[in-house]
């Protein structure tokens, strides 16, 4: 299974440059509210680019012919999503440090942001991956479009939530303000992890009986 994760990471190659470039540009233009998107988008981009490459190369046939089980194929894809999530967080932390120490800009970076990044990426993966396995190359663009719209929406909603928690004005924020950040972050992470695991089970059910490469 580790070899499968390794494959997913190696396949991207120069696509990483693209992600890094994006992070740098976006990271320098950052404003307070969009910090979450800064971290979530690269993770999502990598996941989407990776599966796009798989589809373009009909590599489900390739992967299916390797000495691995269907279960391992699915688990590895989800593990890769976790690695990408971690990479997204790393990007945010790095850009925050650059902003703070090199540029002297303070964005009020917090643990809650990390929780929200985890939440968004896992939420996205939980929707995108089963759709990817279910629809295959036929509906991948549909799945991708829908999932991307969802994530941008989620990103802004969460940014909004975050803004309202610490700023003021939003009705939702008023109610959430009562929550300590740690409980709010914990809730977001817990729900997304739950969805993520559930999604993994659904993907496995899809892949178990799927005709790969037809």
């Amino acid at each position: 299974m580790l070899n499968l994760v390794r494959k997913d990471l190696l396949v991207l190659r120069w696509h990483y440059l693209f992600v890094a470039l994006y992070a740098l540009l976006f990271g320098l233009l950052i404003t307070k509210g969009t910090f979450i998107l800064l971290g979530a988008l690269p993770a999502v981009m990598m996941l989407v680019m990776g599966s796009g490459l798989e589809l373009k190369n009909r590599s489900l046939v390739f992967v299916g012919s390797l000495p691995v089980t269907r279960g391992q194929i699915v688990r590895a894809r989800y593990a890769t999503a976790l690695v990408f999530t971690a990479a997204g967080i790393a990007v945010t932390v790095a850009m925050n440090l650059i902003n703070r120490y090199a540029l002297g800009r303070e964005h009020g970076f917090s643990g809650l942001m990390i929780a929200f990044i985890i939440g968004i990426v896992l939420f996205f993966s939980a929707i995108y991956l089963p759709a990817y396995y279910w629809l295959g190359s036929k509906g991948e663009h549909v799945a991708l479009g829908a999932a991307l719209a969802l994530i941008v929406l989620a990103g802004f909603v969460m940014s909004g939530v975050l803004g309202s928690v610490y700023g003021s004005g939003y009705e939702l924020g008023v109610r959430l303000r009562a929550w300590p950040p740690i409980a709010l972050g914990g809730l977001v992470v817990a729900v997304s992890v739950l969805l993520f695991v559930l999604s993994g089970c659904i993907s496995y059910r899809i892949v178990r009986r799927k005709d790969l490469g037809t």
Binding site: R6, K7, N57, R58, P67
Partner: protein
């Protein structure tokens, strides 16, 4: 000993059904899977590789159950797919670094030798390779994983005669090792006339025959002669007949019987696989039509 055993295998698609199939692929030999387009060759291979899930039936490879034991089984199989499934945007060497760790018995030397032999550079981008080169590369990967069983889906389709010859040379070289088994599908039957030991003939999703090529060539006879011979009894002796203005040509079910029947009155030849395939399919279609 059988490398592959298939019992009661069924796979249904909306427009096509395979099976129920029973099949043995003997260890240590080359088995050719032939049949017209759409006969179910690729479907069968996908089922054997665990790429498709069977509707019913049992597949055993090396005596172990597919797909329950798929990881262990596939570690011993080298697979060459009809279409390139390697990552087009990678270089050969990058692809190797992804592929090799999956195989415990990966042999770096074999891989280098293959690349040299096939005149492939490790730095070449896979996308830049011609169809024949990609096929060679797939073969190099399949051979370097230490496979005991090589399963290939139409490996010679769309390739020039020079490469097809080369490929047959490689395959016959592999068979020096009596533990190796090769199963490959093709609709270019001349590839099999020489090197195949056993022939599995699929038509419309069922096995028409599965026997040694020697037996096939002994049993069938290709008869060419005057149409005046063709009465109802004589027709019965044929698998299929093609009649023209100048005479007839047909595949007789039993060589001995044909010799008795025609003696010097007709030309009696050993058929090629293509003859056998052509007349069998033709005969079946004809019988199906006359029933309808």
């Amino acid at each position: 000993m059988n490398a592959i055993e298939v019992r009661g295998l069924v796979k249904k698609y909306s427009s096509f059904a395979l099976g129920s199939l029973d099949l043995n692929v003997r260890q240590g030999y080359v088995t050719g899977l032939v049949g017209p387009n759409g006969a179910g060759k690729s479907t069968l291979i996908k089922l054997l590789m665990g790429l498709s899930a069977a509707g019913a039936g049992e597949i055993r490879i090396f005596g172990e159950q597919m797909p329950e034991q798929e990881a262990g089984i596939k570690a011993r199989i080298g697979f060459v797919s009809e279409e390139n499934t390697l990552y087009e945007h990678l270089s050969i060497d990058a692809m190797r670094s992804i592929y090799a760790p999956f195989y415990k018995r990966w042999d770096a030397q074999t891989f280098r030798d293959c690349l040299n032999r096939f005149e492939l550079s490790p730095r070449s981008r896979i996308r830049s390779l011609s169809k024949g080169m990609k096929m060679k590369l797939s073969l190099a990967f399949a051979l370097s994983g230490g496979a005991e069983l090589l399963i290939m889906d139409e490996p010679t389709a769309g390739l020039d005669p020079v490469f097809r010859r080369e490929m047959l040379e490689i395959l016959s070289g592999l068979m020096l090792d009596e533990n190796r088994t090769i199963l490959f599908s093709t609709h270019i039957t001349t590839d099999l006339d020489r090197i195949a030991d056993y022939i599995v003939f699929l038509d419309r999703g069922t096995v028409v025959f599965n026997e040694s090529k020697e037996d096939l060539f002994d049993r069938y006879a290709l008869i060419k002669g005057d149409k005046k011979w063709l009465d109802r009894d004589v027709r019965q002796a044929f698998v299929g007949i093609r009649e023209t203005g100048t005479g007839f040509e047909g595949l007789a079910r039993d060589r001995g019987e044909a010799i008795r029947m025609f003696g010097d009155g007709a030309i009696i030849e050993t058929p090629t696989l293509e003859d056998i395939m052509y007349f069998t399919v033709r005969g079946e279609r004809h019988r199906a039509e006359s029933r309808a």
